[in-house]
């Protein structure tokens, strides 16, 4: 494969090539290559320790890869930027464990995430404009928390926190959403509603979903990438991937 030279424009929104990272000698990611097209929704599965969360850490700037290329929008090298810069480029992240601001109201959680200047001075003298208030109201409607806006986020149930966090991602209006196990700990009903919500979001955003729940991925109905020991084991539609002998071997043990 030809190494991408600076300034080269790929049509992919996200482009990872030959990425490796190790922690104290343990290779969490080895030679990972992955591309996400604009508007694409991709599911990523893999057994524990396959490097799914580390991959998200690399994309969002929390972890720097030892070698490899990570390009966003064809020409921006993500390995040179920090978390805040990457977030402001338009990459949003939802954590595995729902992480909302417990001591803020639900509305304030959305306000903090809302796409707006993030500097000290601009937040000190911030006034929420009517259009921005409307956007907040819309998002509260989408995640079905409009009636609870004055409640503290800490008092929400686990499933509602997951939605609030997805709502915060929407408020950021990112080009790419990284969603780590959105259905973890949800009831079947909530899982189904979450799948609908994500499909709705995927209409005008690119989304990467990391998930263990096969039923949930089937409901999403998108291309699947299987990670194993830090690199891509298989890629394709879910039926094709789950028929792959290597994948079955990895998942069921050898």
């Amino acid at each position: 494969m030809i190494a991408s030279s600076p300034g080269q424009l790929t049509s992919s929104l996200l482009y990872l090539d030959g990425v490796s990272v190790s922690f104290d000698g343990f290779k969490a990611i080895r030679g990972l290559s992955l591309t996400i097209e604009p508007g694409e929704m991709r599911a990523i599965i893999g057994p524990n320790g396959a490097g799914k969360t580390t991959m998200m850490d690399i994309i969002t700037g929390k972890t720097k890869p030892d070698v490899g290329t990570v390009m966003f929008g064809g020409s921006i090298d993500l390995t040179r930027l920090d978390e805040a810069a990457i977030a402001n480029l338009g990459i949003g992240r939802k954590f595995q464990k729902p992480t909302v601001f417990d001591f803020h109201t639900i509305e304030d959680n959305i306000l903090l995430a809302l796409k707006a200047p993030r500097t000290v001075a601009r937040t000190l003298f911030w006034k929420t404009a009517a259009a921005q208030q409307k956007r907040i109201d819309d998002i509260l409607g989408i995640i079905k928390l409009g009636d609870a806006r004055e409640r503290l986020a800490g008092s929400l149930s686990h499933g509602q926190k997951q939605w609030l966090e997805i709502g915060m991602l929407l408020a950021q209006d990112p080009k790419l959403l990284l969603v780590d196990e959105p259905a973890a700990g949800m009831t079947d009903g909530e899982t189904a509603e979450t799948a609908v919500l994500l499909k709705e979001i995927a209409r005008d955003h690119s989304v990467i979903v990391v998930e263990h729940d096969m039923g949930f991925i089937r409901e999403l109905g998108v291309k699947v990438t299987v990670l194993h020991e830090g690199s891509v084991l298989a890629e394709g539609p879910l039926d094709q991937v789950s028929a792959n002998e290597r994948v079955v071997e990895v998942y069921l043990g050898r």
């Binding site: 969360t53 969002t60 929390k62 978390e83 805040a84 977030a87 402001n88 949003g92 992240r93 954590f95 595995q96 464990k97 992480t99 909302v100 601001f101 417990d102 001591f103 803020h104 304030d108 306000l111 903090l112 995430a113 993030r118 500097t119 000290v120 937040t123 000190l124 003298f125 911030w126 409640r151 503290l152 986020a153 800490g154 008092s155 915060m168 950021q172």
Partner: protein, 295 residues
């Protein structure tokens, strides 16, 4: 402020030197060190009251927050810094009077610092500054910036992934609080009449933490209330036969407040008031555990 007051003594010092403060004459210094220049001017001294601590906090905070030093490590480093300053200022070579510090003040803006009227004016000024400080802090807390700062407190890495430069927000509040501390110090010196390096002692920072704990954590009024209550207790305690036991009393107060009044005076009073008005609480308080992203 002490430097300004020293320069105001002029030739009335014991050695009668119009320029050099007494301790410098005593140490056989020939001329005023460069960093004492300008302190004979009140406006310049007032500017420095804000600028010197602000700048120190800015530089220190810049490095500490950029390196992502947080929590108890930050507390330890700030304590180490003030301890280092304490040792440095104790040296006579530093040019701030060594362990005697700066004292023997005569007047401020031409008024005798010991006169009743001057003291009343200084006390009123302190109240005005307390209100001003409260209003500034209040403005910050209710702004969106205040919300960001609370968000950083509860889930720092989440805030970072939302695109906020956490270090800059920390640096801002750290620097603002340093400037406020500078104003407090400038008001303290003429009213107490002496300033020496022992004020750098880490115990002082711990006492400030106790003020906040006693008054009520997470509130602005509580911090001021705690400051008044603890210092009033200090005045009573340290001026009688109980004087040797003041530090024990302070420690006991801290333990008592932590165990029996975790929300401080203000929080406890609020809870009591709420209970009287509305016997059944309807909202469940959120768990206080800070939620962080997975490592």
């Amino acid at each position: 402020m002490g430097m300004y007051l020293m320069r105001q003594i002029g030739s009335r010092g014991t050695y009668g030197n119009p320029i050099l403060p007494d301790f410098m004459v005593f140490l056989n210094w020939k001329e005023l060190p460069w960093y004492w220049y300008g302190f004979d001017s009140f406006p310049f001294a007032m500017l420095m009251v804000l600028l010197a601590p602000g700048l120190l906090a800015f530089v220190f905070g810049w490095f500490a927050f950029r390196s992502r030093v947080t929590g108890v490590y930050l507390s330890i480093i700030t304590q180490a810094l003030t301890y280092a300053l304490l040792l440095a200022f104790f040296r006579n070579d530093m040019g701030f009077g060594g362990n005697n510090g700066l004292t023997d003040f005569k007047d401020i803006l031409g008024f005798n610092v010991q006169a009743q009227a001057t003291r009343a004016a200084l006390f009123s000024m302190t109240c005005v500054m307390l209100i001003a400080g409260f209003l500034i802090a209040r403005g910050i807390v209710v702004s969106k910036l205040g919300k960001v700062v609370i968000a950083i407190r509860d889930a720092e890495s989440r805030t970072r992934f939302l695109g906020y430069r956490v270090d800059r927000f920390k640096l801002f509040v750290f620097t603002v609080s340093a400037c406020m501390a500078g104003v407090a110090g400038a008001l303290y010196v003429p009213q107490v009449g002496i300033i020496n390096p022992s004020e750098f002692a880490p115990a002082n920072s711990i006492e400030t933490v106790i003020w906040v704990a006693v008054g009520g954590r997470g509130t602005l009024v509580g911090a001021a209330l705690g400051g008044v209550v603890v210092n009033y207790a200090k005045t009573i305690f340290t001026s009688g036969f109980m004087a040797p036991y003041w530090l024990f009393a302070l420690g006991a107060l801290f333990v008592f407040v932590t165990i029996f009044m975790p929300k401080g005076i203000l929080g406890t009073a609020q809870d009591w008031w709420e209970k009287r008005r509305r016997p059944v609480p309807t909202t469940t308080p959120p768990e206080p555990a800070p939620a962080e992203g997975r490592a």
